[in-house]
């Protein structure tokens, strides 16, 4: 199950999608919007996706993960649109016969997602708004995008 949603994500639905006979362990990762980013107070975020490519690249993340670990079930949901503090931005669920592989596979999937899936976030907060990883000339503060 791979979805881009402009409404609430569902950890329950992701977990349910990967629970199968033979899966001794399922790992659920939930990434949420924090109120601070690189020492700067954040009030809300906007996520924008190149949606057709993002769906293809999310599928690629799932395929790469399934090629490397004995994955029995995998679900990814990512938000687009406006998010408030505490909202879930991304969910990944992975099930495997044993827990070690499930943890490693889930970790790989979230790291790859951040590398190859064309989704961008804009932070609104102290001092204005800026695209994370975007040009400094567009920021209204001397904000170093740093890394996630």
């Amino acid at each position: 199950m791979i979805e881009l949603l402009d409404g609430d994500l569902s950890p329950d639905r992701c977990l349910a999608a990967v629970r199968t006979a033979g899966a001794g362990g399922a790992v659920l990762f939930v990434g949420s919007v924090r109120d601070f980013s690189d020492g700067r107070h954040v009030t809300r975020l906007e996520y924008e996706a190149y949606e057709p490519m993002a769906l293809e690249k999310l599928q690629q993340v799932a395929c790469e993960t399934t090629d490397r670990w004995p994955v029995l079930g995998m679900a990814i949901q990512h938000r687009v649109g406006t998010l408030d503090i505490g909202d879930d931005a991304v969910i990944i669920a992975v099930s495997c016969p044993h827990r070690a592989a499930a943890f490693e596979a889930c970790r790989y999937a979230i790291d790859r997602l951040k590398e190859i899936v064309p989704i961008w976030k804009k932070e609104f907060g102290e001092g204005g708004e800026s695209w994370v990883g975007g040009p400094e000339t567009l920021t209204t503060t001397n904000h170093d995008p740093g890394k996630d």
């Binding site: 924090r34 951040k114 961008w120 695209w131 990883g133 040009p135």
Partner: protein, 95 residues
Amino acid sequence: MTSIPSESRQQVRVVLLLFAAYREIAGASRLELAVPEGSSPLDVFATLETRHPRLAAMRGSTTFAVNREIVTPTTPLREGDEVAFLQPMSGGSHD
């Protein structure tokens, strides 16, 4: 690209998709462009940069997609290609 007058060359039509900071600077999310045959995504960027000089600051960190795959910036474009400029991706949360 500038060595041959454009009227003496075939043109190809491409669609340029703009997201995030590119969309805000250009004031558009989708542009239909006719470019000289043999033009690359980098040439398209240069053309847009002449209209929107603020794009210059983003050139070095831009990757290019054609038909939803990352390509070398100098790849020649073909009729009907979907071109996109991509800034460094920042999906997921600040976890």
